[in-house]
């Protein structure tokens, strides 16, 4: 990663709506360089998408989330990747991580209702031939995600003007 790439990623992670011109000014690069670098980062799949962090609890969308610890049998020649691919293919699955420790995959699942989520686990996930066991924990409350604290209202308690 070049210094410019790092600087752009840091700035865009905070606010991906900053204009090319502002990004160029802040990094000391030209607009063309910034545009090229961002294009490259997109092509190389360093930047995957530009999406806001949403606190769904404040919306009227009904949803249930669960973290599922999954134990699987790794497959010959393909290790865990093949089964991970099977799992992340489901629309309900938001994230899948290969983990060290007492289980193999951590799967973050979202469904509109508890019943649908339970059905996903019992009918779709547990029935995969390579899955040997699951342990499901429901998310009760989100405090912080991707570095953003959900409930905190940012207050600047500095004096409005100081010498």
């Amino acid at each position: 990663m070049t210094q410019l790439e790092n600087a752009l990623l840091e700035l865009m992670q905070e606010d991906c709506r900053l204009s090319l011109e502002k990004l160029a000014v802040m990094t000391g690069a030209s607009c063309e360089e910034v545009a090229e670098t961002i294009d490259r980062l997109e092509q190389e799949h360093v930047i995957l998408r530009y999406a806001p962090t949403i606190n769904w609890d404040k919306t009227d969308r009904e949803r249930v989330e669960a973290m599922i610890e999954v134990r699987v049998l790794p497959q010959r020649d393909m290790g865990f990747d093949a089964v991970a691919k099977r799992i992340y293919g489901f629309d309900e699955v938001k994230s899948v991580y290969l983990m060290s420790g007492s289980y193999d995959l951590l799967v973050l699942v979202e469904a509109p209702t508890l019943k649908q989520l339970a059905l996903f686990v019992s009918e779709k996930l547990s029935t995969l031939e390579t899955v040997t066991g699951t342990a499901t924990s429901f998310v009760l409350k989100r405090y912080k995600e991707d570095g953003v604290v959900f409930e905190e209202t940012k207050t600047d308690n500095r004096l409005v003007i100081s010498p």
């Binding site: 600087a7 700035l11 905070e14 606010d15 900053l18 502002k22 000014v25 802040m26 990094t27 000391g28 600047d156 500095r158 004096l159 409005v160 003007i161 100081s162 010498p163």
Partner: protein, 396 residues
């Protein structure tokens, strides 16, 4: 209402010092809603977590007593390592430094130690609002030395030389500078050192913004210049570099003979800097020494991006703005608007809800300029710039 005439109790010289020019804007801005303030003279970062944790641990350990007058030895040792490692200036923790309640106490005490009635202190202008009053409070006479936009507000040796009289005792050297963001390169300081040598001036080098330098500028500690250490009191603090303004921890380093007397006032008047502030400072400096000053570098990088944004923003709206290479202030010229600094800031605040500080708050020669701090979130800076642009367009 009391019948007592309190005027008869007041020291006239002190009563005559006007309140800070910032005060009026503060009063006005604090009553308004939705104001974006570019008037804040402190970091927008919260003190890094591990530093706060160290203060909490100190409290939980029951460390609630006084510390030695000069500050905890462990802290003085860390300060000594910091100044040496970062700026190559060596001070003995036992005899050549005192930990103070912020750099402000260091300045006040140093001036009280050296000044007698009629003694003159040279102060570059514009600069931080406290120097002149502190000189007056200490019984001395402040003498302003003008710095100019066309010289990027660097202090010129010939201007210093011209201001010297038989009563000149000391020179305050506040670089990187608040409010201009100006810095002094090594050769600029060499020229000043020449004058110091000729006239045997004492230099109060206020280097609290030394870590906040940009665009390849290297900070030179005045005491590292050849022959200057015996003539220098180096003042620094945790506030700006480590985002620790509210902790009130600063320090003053210099020749043992002077520090002993500074410590005498400090011992009688203050006793010691706050204990938990000292505990936090130890953690800040120790961790920094071990991890390459990661926190400081991260914050500096962030300020630097915002600095570019602001300079470019002002230039784009046609306000001349020299590139500041230190601190976190931009000092654009608003002369072409035809408004005075005061009027400009007043109208900008009431019409567009953006608070800046008029250059005149820092000296009469600050007329035609405004101080804008970029220690505020990028989103807010962008909105402030937009509002200012609208304001300027409406004036034209």
């Amino acid at each position: 209402m009391s019948d007592v005439n309190y005027q008869r109790y007041l020291n006239r010289a002190i009563a005559a010092v006007p309140p800070s020019g910032i005060r009026r804007f503060f009063d006005l801005a604090s009553t308004m809603k939705g104001v974006i303030s570019l008037g804040v003279g402190e970091p927008d970062f919260v003190t890094p977590y591990h530093i706060r944790q160290a203060a909490i641990d100190s409290l939980l350990n029951g460390e609630t007593s006084y510390t030695p007058n000069r500050g905890l030895l462990e802290l003085r040792e860390e300060i000594s390592l910091y100044l040496d490692g970062r700026f190559g200036v060596k001070y003995d923790p036992a005899t050549e430094m005192t930990v103070t309640v912020g750099a402000s106490e260091a300045i006040d005490t140093a001036l009280r130690v050296i000044l007698e009635p009629g003694d003159e202190v040279l102060i570059p202008e514009p600069s931080y609002v406290s120097y002149s009053p502190s000189v007056i409070f200490a019984g001395g006479t402040p003498v302003g030395v003008l710095t100019r936009a066309e010289k990027e507000f660097r202090l010129q040796a010939e201007d210093v030389r011209r201001a010297i009289t038989p009563r000149t005792k000391a020179l305050i050297l506040p670089y990187p500078n608040n409010p201009t963001g100006a810095v002094m390169e090594r050769e600029d300081l060499e020229a000043i050192a020449e004058v110091v040598r000729e006239h045997e001036l004492l230099v109060l080098s206020d280097e609290i913004y030394a870590e906040l330098r940009y665009g390849g500028h290297q900070h030179t500690a005045f005491a590292t210049l050849e022959g200057m250490k015996p003539y220098t009191l180096t003042i620094n603090c945790m506030s700006k570099s480590f985002a620790m303004t509210g902790w009130r921890v600063g320090y003053i380093c210099g020749p043992a003979e002077l520090i002993t007397v500074i410590n005498k006032i400090h011992q009688y008047a203050i006793l010691c800097a706050p204990r938990q502030g000292q505990a936090a400072a130890i953690e800040a400096l120790r961790a920094g020494r071990l991890n390459g000053y990661e926190d400081v570098e991260r914050m500096r990088e962030s300020y630097d991006r915002r600095r570019r944004l602001m300079v470019e923003g002002f230039r784009a709206m046609g306000l001349p703005c020299f590139e500041p290479k230190g601190a976190f202030y931009v000092f654009p010229s608003i002369e072409k608007t035809g408004l005075s600094s005061e009027e400009f800031c007043q109208r900008l605040l009431t019409e567009k809800k953006v608070a800046c500080v008029p250059g005149t708050a820092f000296a009469p020669c600050g007329e035609g300029h405004i101080r804008c701090s970029y220690a505020t979130g990028i989103d807010k800076l962008n909105i402030a710039l937009e509002r200012m642009e609208q304001f300027i367009k409406a004036l034209a």
